[in-house]
C-alpha cells in the first residue's frame, strides 16, 4: 500500500496544492480591473498619445504575467517552468527593443 502511494507521488500530482476557487476569482477581478484601466486610458486619455502606447503594453504585460503566474500555475509549479518562460520572454523582448532602437537611430 505504501509503495503504491509512493508511486503516485512520483507521478507529480500529489505535490500540487489545490488552488482555491476564491484565489481564481480574485485573479479574474484583478485582470478585469486592469482591462478597464487600459480601455479607460485609451478612450479618455487620447491626449497622452505617446504615453498610451507604452502604458497599454505595460498593462498588457502585467495581465500576461498574472495569467501565467496564477492561472497557469507557475506559482505552484517547479521553478524550472518560470525560468524557461523568462528566458523565452527576455530573448523576445530584447529582440523587439533592439529592432526598434536600430530603426529609430537611422
Amino acid at each position: 500500500m505504501n509503495t503504491i502511494k509512493q508511486n503516485h507521488n512520483d507521478q507529480g500530482h500529489e505535490e500540487h496544492p489545490i488552488v482555491s476557487y476564491r484565489e481564481h476569482l480574485s485573479t479574474l477581478v484583478a485582470l478585469l480591473l486592469l482591462t478597464v484601466m487600459t480601455v479607460a486610458i485609451s478612450v479618455f486619455g487620447s491626449n497622452l498619445r505617446t504615453l498610451s502606447v507604452a502604458t497599454a503594453l505595460l498593462i498588457a504585460s502585467v495581465k500576461a504575467l498574472v495569467v501565467a503566474y496564477y492561472f497557469m500555475h507557475l506559482k505552484y509549479d517547479k521553478k524550472l517552468y518560470t525560468w524557461l518562460l523568462l528566458i523565452v520572454g527576455v530573448l523576445f523582448v530584447s529582440f523587439l527593443i533592439l529592432t526598434s532602437i536600430e530603426f529609430l537611430n537611422r
Binding site: Q11, I18, T27, A56, L57, A64, F71, D77, F103
Partner: protein
C-alpha cells in the same frame, strides 16, 4: 521490443508521467509564443514605418466588441482554472459544468468575431476586396495584419474549444479523475495561452490610437 530478455521494472503497471506531459505542453507553448512573436515583430516594424496610417485604421475597429471579447476570454480562463480545482477535489460534475461555461465562452467569442469580420468585409476591407486593394500602403498593411493575426488567433480558439470538448467527454467517461487529470491541465494551459495572446492583440489593434 519483443526480444526483451526478461528485463522488467517493478512498477504499478502504468507509465504515465504527469510532469513530462506538462513539460511537453510548455515546450509546445513556447513555439506558439515565438510564432505569434514573429507576427508581433512584423506588426511593430510596419507600425514604425506607417505610424499615421496605423493610427487612423485602428479607429475602424469596434472597441466595445473588442473589450467584450476580452472580458469573455478572461472569464473563460478562470472557469478552466476552476475546473482543474474541481477535478482535483474529485468533483467531476462541477469540473464538467465549468468546462461547458468555457466552451460557451468560446462560442460567444467566435460569434462576436463573426460580426466584427462581417462588418469589415461588408466595407470591402478583406484582402482582395475592392476597397482593400485601393487602400494606401499603410492602411492596407494594417488590415492585412488585422485579418491574419486575429484569424490565426481565432483558429487557436477553435482548436482550444475542440480540446476542451475532448476533456469534457473523457471526464464524463470517468477517464479523467482526481488522481489523473493531466489532460485537463494541459488543455487549460493551451486555453490560457490563447487568452494571453489576445491580451496583446486587443490593445495593439483596438486601443492604440
Amino acid at each position: 521490443m519483443e526480444h526483451s530478455s526478461g528485463f522488467s521494472l517493478p512498477n504499478s503497471g502504468h507509465n504515465r508521467d504527469a510532469e513530462a506531459s506538462k513539460m511537453g505542453m510548455w515546450l509546445f507553448l513556447f513555439t506558439e509564443l515565438l510564432l505569434f512573436g514573429g507576427l508581433f515583430v512584423v506588426y511593430m516594424v510596419y507600425r514604425l514605418l506607417n505610424h499615421e496610417a496605423f493610427l487612423l485604421s485602428s479607429f475602424e475597429l469596434n472597441v466595445t466588441m473588442g473589450t467584450f471579447n476580452t472580458v469573455v476570454l478572461l472569464v473563460s480562463s478562470m472557469t478552466v482554472a476552476m475546473s482543474i480545482t474541481a477535478i482535483q477535489k474529485g468533483n467531476a460534475a462541477l469540473s464538467i459544468r465549468l468546462l461547458f461555461v468555457t466552451l460557451g465562452a468560446a462560442v460567444v467569442f467566435m460569434v462576436v468575431k463573426y460580426f466584427e469580420w462581417s462588418a469589415k468585409i461588408h466595407h470591402g476591407l478583406f484582402p482582395g476586396q475592392l476597397v482593400f486593394d485601393n487602400l494606401p500602403k499603410g492602411e492596407g498593411l494594417f488590415f492585412f495584419l488585422y485579418f491574419f493575426m486575429t484569424g490565426l488567433h481565432a483558429l487557436h480558439i477553435i482548436i482550444g474549444a475542440v480540446l476542451i470538448a475532448v476533456v469534457i467527454y473523457r471526464t464524463r467517461k470517468g477517464l479523467i479523475t482526481a488522481e489523473k487529470y493531466t489532460l485537463t491541465e494541459n488543455a487549460g494551459l493551451y486555453w490560457h495561452l490563447v487568452d494571453l495572446i489576445w491580451i496583446y492583440l486587443f490593445p495593439l489593434f483596438y486601443l492604440i490610437h
